[in-house]
């Protein structure tokens, strides 16, 4: 099963299995990884599951949809070119080994 590594803003690193077809956000929440809040539960309404995707994986991700693009304009931490909402990263086999860094704050 593909794995994803989550790195907190203080450098705490957690690697977990993320089944294909589930989101990077929901697996973080299920596994109790702090730093991803997801107040709206993955509906792309709240921008509290913001992550910075490791640049090595950026090209493999799906393009940012219109809805995510707008929500990324409302994140608590700085939006960077590699900013994504983790509820919108639906796991695919080619994302195996994905590394995401979590911002200092989500709200």
């Amino acid at each position: 099963m593909p794995k994803v590594t989550y790195i907190s803003h203080t450098g705490e690193t957690t690697t977990i299995d993320v089944p294909v077809g589930t989101t990077v956000m929901e697996n973080a929440v299920k596994n109790g990884i702090d730093g991803i809040v997801a107040e709206c539960g993955g509906a792309c309404m709240c921008a509290t599951c913001h992550v910075y995707v490791d640049p090595a994986f950026l090209d493999r991700l799906d393009p940012i949809g219109e809805e995510q693009e707008e929500m990324l304009g409302a994140t608590a931490a700085e939006r960077k070119p590699n900013s994504r909402l983790s509820c919108q990263i639906l796991m695919k086999p080619q994302f195996a080994g994905l590394i995401v860094r979590m911002p200092e704050r989500q709200t």
């Binding site: 589930t22 929901e26 929440v29 299920k30 596994n31 109790g32 107040e39 709206c40 539960g41 509906a43 309404m45 709240c46 219109e66 809805e67 693009e69 707008e70 929500m71 304009g73 409302a74 709200t107």
Partner: protein, 401 residues
Amino acid sequence: MQAGIVIVGGGQAGLEAAAALRTQGYEGTVTLVCEEAHAPYQRPPLSKDFLAGKQEADSVFLRALGYYEKYRIDLVLGDRVTEINRGAKLVHLSAGGAMPYAQLILAVGARNRPLPVPGAENALYLRTLDEAVTMKQRLAEARHGVVVIGGGFIGLEVAAVARGTGKPVTVIEVAARLMARAVSPLLSDFFVDVHRAQGAKVLLNSGVVEVRPDAVILSGGRRVAADLVVAGIGVLPNVELAREAGLEVGDGIMVDEFLRTSDPDIFAIGDCAHHPSLYSGDRVRLESVQNAVDQAKCVARAITGKSAPYGDVPWFWTDQYEIRFQMAGLSGGHDQAVLRGSIENRKFSVFYFKQGHLLAVDSVNRFGDHITARKMLAAGTALTPEQAADEAVDLKKLVAA
């Protein structure tokens, strides 16, 4: 046991209050009393992706169980507070025993309004995970038809999911238009068209007089065959516990701008809280994720000595078929509604004004308008109705300016 914070109610407001207390640095005990046997979970997916079979039950939980241990949140499941003894600052539990509190947070939510007709027991309601599991099963088994009584958000979301499975669906609404309590006539008309285009029957101005195991009988005598009847006719705030404790209640538990009840050591948040609102200019009670989460944070700040009045912009969303409908602000009392975009293309927003002042924005598949509207309402950005209607005006630039 040193008295700490007791939170009554394990919905999203209760959970978020516990989480926010820890985030804000509260060190004392935090106890979350949940009436259901489940740890806190999200309700919005129950009438959307969960019911549609696109989301599994294990993904609706708001936190992993390890979270509660790590943050020392005592989760009491399957028990309820039966009485508040304000003098002794104790709550009594149905399983027996009592628990002291220094401060109490009532996040007791609301319950479904029961259908006041004979045979109401033949209808299903949707609020809890268990009810959603049952409804999903019954939906899969339904052959003849699904009747949804009540054309509000929950009813219409269920209708959309049911149509998605190909079953015959009839929505019965007693009022002259859909979602009348929350949206303007223009949006009500739009959603009637959306549902009818998908093959659902929508009957307006239609009362129900009886629910039978195989049909719903309308006030004119018409019979609509159904092997699944869903009632979504609104909710009643759970005020009884507060009322019996002598707290001020009405349509909800009355709180001030800091979400305090008439007892300074007792707060109320979420669906049950009737609070002053900057956005309606009056008192309101809101049933939404936004209100649950932001009130939870507000009360955590108050308890940790960083008191600030509740003033977050209300927002809400619903998904019906391919329509994402988002609301920012509260449109009640508007005297002008301005359209931006195209209803025909199903990408538009309606901007609501009162005496030229922006009150709220409803958006259909216009994500940018929604987020910008939230920012405008929070910042008090000046916007004229003419600017709102003019697509050449870049709203984002107005916020930035």
